[in-house]
Symmetry: C2
Subunit: 625 residues, 2 copies
Amino acid sequence: MAVALTILPRPRSADEARVLSVPEATTILRAAHAAGVDITATCGGRGRCTSCRVKFVSGTVPPPTIMDEVQLGDDLVRDGYRLACQCHVTEPITVEPAPPLDETSFQILGPGEHADGLGRIAIASGVVKQVVKVNLPREEHHQTSDLEQLLAELGLTTDAVTPPVLAALPSALRDDPAGVTVTTFGGRILAVERGDTSAMKFGLAIDVGTTSVVSTLLELESGERLASISSLNPQSVFGGDLMSRIAFAQFNPGNLRKLRTRIVGVLNRHVGELCRESGVLAKWIYKAVIVGNTCMHHLLLGIDPSYVGLAPYAPVMRHPLVLPARDVPLTIAPDAVVCFLPLVAGFVGADAVGVALATRIHESEAIRIAVDIGTNGEVLLGSAAHLWACSAPAGPALEGAQIRHGMRGAAGAIDRVTVDDDVHVHTIAGAPAQGICGSGLIDLIAGLLDARVIDPTGLIQVEKRDALSPALRRRVEMRGEERIVVVVRDGEGGATREIVLTQQDVRQIQLAKGAIASGIALLQRVAGAPDDRIAELMLAGGFGNYVSIASAVRIGLIPPLPLDRIRYVGNAASLGAQACLLSEAERQRADTIARRIEHVSLAAHPDFEQVFVDAMNFPEPEHAR
Amino acid sequence: MAVALTILPRPRSADEARVLSVPEATTILRAAHAAGVDITATCGGRGRCTSCRVKFVSGTVPPPTIMDEVQLGDDLVRDGYRLACQCHVTEPITVEPAPPLDETSFQILGPGEHADGLGRIAIASGVVKQVVKVNLPREEHHQTSDLEQLLAELGLTTDAVTPPVLAALPSALRDDPAGVTVTTFGGRILAVERGDTSAMKFGLAIDVGTTSVVSTLLELESGERLASISSLNPQSVFGGDLMSRIAFAQFNPGNLRKLRTRIVGVLNRHVGELCRESGVLAKWIYKAVIVGNTCMHHLLLGIDPSYVGLAPYAPVMRHPLVLPARDVPLTIAPDAVVCFLPLVAGFVGADAVGVALATRIHESEAIRIAVDIGTNGEVLLGSAAHLWACSAPAGPALEGAQIRHGMRGAAGAIDRVTVDDDVHVHTIAGAPAQGICGSGLIDLIAGLLDARVIDPTGLIQVEKRDALSPALRRRVEMRGEERIVVVVRDGEGGATREIVLTQQDVRQIQLAKGAIASGIALLQRVAGAPDDRIAELMLAGGFGNYVSIASAVRIGLIPPLPLDRIRYVGNAASLGAQACLLSEAERQRADTIARRIEHVSLAAHPDFEQVFVDAMNFPEPEHAR
């Protein structure tokens, strides 16, 4: 049975509305394409991108599919958006395709007076693909070469090529009557492929953290995110934090090589998995942008970071590097441009530059703070007038590492905790509890502080447990020499082991949050910007997405600003990398920002000792209100 | 007992003569250095270079040592030159050190009206070493990096560096109070070494032939040749001539890789041996210049030469490439510049450009010819007005390959033959005869032609042997179906086997010499330059050094010019590479020359068939006189 499908013109387009009569249960995308209505489907209609999304204007909005939820997110789903490739027409409906805007601009976090201010940047990745037909002479007396014939078509010089490109020429130029597709970047040829492959143009944004590595595959023309993957930095076995990893590499070329191999290895595993998941061939990835901390950049480049770990903590280089992928080596197009964003100082890296870029903190009228929470955290504070940064070496505790029953945010991790008369936990995916991840730890400690199970110095109140509710009382005990709080008992909610918080765990969290809080406090002091002058505080980093802001304030991880001036901004460093991937103007801007950021050395500041000791303690209950 | 040693001032120097009283049997060099007289000894007085040579002005010139002969050659030895490091003072003598000229200029073959015209070029390799002291800040608040501090001293930008150079920075900048030595080329940093290594600056000239590979190590400041090595091109097992090697690689990436691995492997073996012999460290080699035929350049770069072997024989590229050594890879300084000279056409390569450069044929008033005899021979003909080139695919027969008892020019090879009433042979190093090398084959055939053992069509005259002398008669016979000439009998002169020349061998030589002779004849025809307009014919190629010119004329390998207009020029291609190694002006000139050379395709010329058939035959006896 045929059903009426009305497709409205895109906003700001000159098209007219089309009313189609389509067989029942056809997808909107297939029906539109069959009728010659142009709805973009970057991933080919496989639910792997968001380009075909439509907004329901009339008719019943169907329940979202998994693909709708994954690609569009809660907000768009709630607003009535669905993926046209996933949505079957079963009754008369009217839909409006997404504006074509997305195909030439890309959403960043942006500046703004409001907590949810968003910005857009124009897409111009610098990667250009063009199809050319090359006439090869058939007669011997022509003194020429394959390359010269190709360059004549392109208007480029011999400086534009490398041997791997030359190696591709002879067969590419002869194998396909359609011609060859030449990919260039800044006048240099990155690849020559037989036939017309001009639609295939992808890029990789990579955020290399001390503990986590996140890679995102984007389509370079539309800016669509096709796939993203996050894994543990495999260097972690050689040391959880930067200093221990530097110590491992220090003056030891063999260990330096091991660290480099690990990180290059995980990036290439990411390339393989992203390509498998998205159907993109690795050779179609022509640009990558890497943001990482200073030490990670050194290790990726095979440069000894020994002196990054010794006062005065000087990096070997700070400028933005651009290398061919084969020199990293990344297993994408061999001559793909791999761009390392610039560094600021030994412990303020390209990731901080990425955060600044994505949040537009450098353009802000008012003073804002961006806190990138991670093993090697960074704090940015400033405005268009002045921008300061410092490192906040939190260690991996907030990511669940070096905690007795800590774990990363995976199924079975306790990610939310409330404490009233007892301790109540929520686990990721509702699975039986296996451990506590960072956001759960912060909730837990915040709750235990309010319930006075922990005092402001961090001590678990075993001696005073009689003042607690009966249920809480049973959770607090000395076990041998050790003070503990039992969070989940063996068997509780299907848990297969007891999960406890130890006194040592509390100390680790105190050290971690103390590092970040004292970083924020000192930058505020340097800038002369007390809490009431801070227009906004942004929590960045993969971890920042999950933490309860109220709990973070309660334990003193961040200053007690009104909650509407605090927002999550997700992985802003990666978003900055994505912006530079899609826009050469943004990549140039990164360099300007890096030069503008003034590095503040915490340890060298005369007030540091006092600030740090203060920051180690938890706020008194009064402060938290 | 003390002996008087008088050292005259160098020509054109302001020094005064010095009379030294030296212990008997001291070397001149050691005595001079002990007295503070400055005689250059680039190799450190080990007889490995020519820089300490002195000319005897009075006193008995001692017999030359082996080192004198090897380094100085016959002409200088005859003129009374000796190496000061090898020559012991045993009676009162007066010597004059070599002019310091050699330290800033380099001898090439040069243009000239005379057969022994020599030219000199000014040395300016482009490789610059400078010692700098870098002040690293000690305080944390400096926002800088190792690289920025170094570049500030050098006045260079961050574009000047690559990751391998960055990797060397941190320890080099801190390990030696003397500072660091920075090597640059065209404003790019090739290496940073701890301490002062400014005296260590070497380069490599490489001639990659189809059959032979010759590498020469030079000191870049003085131009001294420190060591040279020649070996068989190990690709030969996959085909003796270019066409068979192209067929092996054609559309077969595995075989292409094999060919590349072989040639890169032999170059790196050369690096190892040259360094061992000269005491130079491979990391002190900062520049290499490669000349080879078009196919060899493609194979070295990993580029499929399939279409070089198919009409219209188009190369993939012809422009001069400059790559970092690690991309070849050559195991010299990783960022050393490896310069491939430009190519002219599919079968006229950089080696021809090298020959032109060394012989200055492109500057000549009169018309000259340069013949590079090799498996893939090349002929150049022209003057300052016009320059033509063609390939002469002789095959490896003239290098002793594909000949029944052929061998390369090593100990035991018959290298000279005279034929009167019998056949008389001379072997290299006087060793028992083991085979015949190229020069011996040409002598042998020339002699057999004059003795009418072979007729002008190349047929061995078994039927007419009764007209020969009794001794010759016994050497000519049918063996089975095969006509042969016995050159050496088993046991003769210690030979452990019989050495024969077969009819098939004669045919191979006819094909080889026919290819070269028809190349010369056709270029003469194209240029309208009969023999009497040819001012000079130069025989180049390793082989060209040993062949008897009279025999070469007798068999028609080269046209019958007056013998004083024919000269050996040795390995002119390698000499051209050496010139470009020592002089960037020469390397630029190579590009100009390559553009000027007009390639003549033999097979496409209407007269080719006739010319080639004529050239296959041997000249009639009358012609040879």
